[in-house]
Amino acid sequence: MALIADTGRQGGGRASAASDPEPLLALRHISKHFRTSRQDTLALDDVTLKVRPREFICIVGPSGCGKSTLLNIAAGIDTDYQGEAVFEGAPIRGMAQQRAVVFQEPALFPWLNVRDNVEFGLKLRGVPKEQRREIVDRQLALVNLSRFDRAYIHELSGGMKQRAQLARGLAVEPHVLLMDEPFAALDAQTRDDLQLELQSVWARIGTTVLFVTHNVREAVILGDRVVVMSPSPGRIKKIIDIPLERPRTPDDHAVADLAAAVRYELQNVGAEPEPRYAI
């Protein structure tokens, strides 16, 4: 089942990439200033990125490269910038269900249990109760949280919280899922587990994903393409294709090789690279 879905997406995503179809999400010539009374920081400098339908894109870069700012602009959280952000042919004016976000911090509602959290977006949309329950059951099963559907947020581990956030985002059937360093605060083991889980979830539903991370290996494991960004000001340095079979694990040699290539790009960031490793 997963294999069929996988090859189906491969055909749709990869092959049509060459003919360059209408992008689902297009960020064109985006510049963003953060102004305070003391200084004016250029966070993003003329960034252009096109996300194709059913594609998994990872943005990787050091802190301060503007990758999260870019995601916030795509989400409609940040609307103060120069340039053009277009989603499904229309300019992005604010937040919307079609562009659900999974945040780095567990942005779950503490007064609701896991089930009600996942149901939240459906309830706002006015989906009938029966249908809501069905969708929530399916999403919880997908992220392996069915057993904890009545638990409150403070009772969950960090990994479970992020799975709940993922289920909540997927429940509204977004056209693109925006993930902002969702695994950054987790321990290494949980992180590996969730990377595998996210791959299997994505193989089944095949939604478009824009995934921000500072972990190079994570970007290579998850992405169809990895966007390498450089800081001060934030620019796209290079976009690297990852033509590897899925599921991918951190131990795959091909993953390690491509991660090394991405890391090379990151290290040659800017005119005067700072020494990153003291050997």
Binding site: M95, R99, P110, Y152, H154, V172
Partner: protein, 264 residues
Amino acid sequence: MRSSRLIPSRETGLKLLRIVGFYVAVIALWSLLGRVEVWSPFLFPSPEKVFASLRTNFANGLILDGLQASMQRLVVGYVISFVLGMALGLLTAASKFANETIGGVVLGLQSLPSITWLPLAVLWFGLSETAIIFVVLMGSTFSIAISARAGMRGLPPLLTRAAGTLGATRWQLYRYVVLPAMVPSMVQGMKQGWSFAWRSLMAGELLFVSVGLGHLLDVGRNLNNINMVFAIMLVIIAVGVAVDRLLFGRAEAWVRERWGFAAA
């Protein structure tokens, strides 16, 4: 994940035993002191006499009438103060201008013991029901306003954003995120508001010629009936503890279950 509360553990049994034992010991000591008449029985009654007075005054309806009158004032005053406090709190949380102006007044008035409103209330409203309700109102409004403001301001922007990306409209944001997020802070503020209201009501009734629990205390004093004074005080304690435990205790447990111990 949650421990079963159906089977009382050995520990809770022992805890109950300690508590009951303590009160039995206190009453026994009290009874002994009353019996040997260390102090005059007109100043320090025995528990038997106090309980007898309690029975009599329950039977003749004095306590029940007083209780009813007091609770009525309390409920009316508290409900109005909740509405007012909520409005003030939301206004000062939402508007910077309101916070700089009205917010300061609210903070100032909250530090004023509410019984000091009584002379003013009597001048404005006369020796009426309105005057005493006004005092109760002044007791709890500002605590509720301050907690409503704190609750709304303490809402993490992350949750607002999460709701927005899940498609919440402005109205839905208030209904499904801002209001529920205020609950822990509101429970604290309403508990404090209730205790201020209850204290100022008793003080007001003491000084007031009217029906009510506080007034019954004054009646006991005028009749030189120390048994009655003790009995009424017990009733006042019982009401206070009951509301605190049953109403606010439950609300706090509800908050703890959802938010965890961090918020409680």
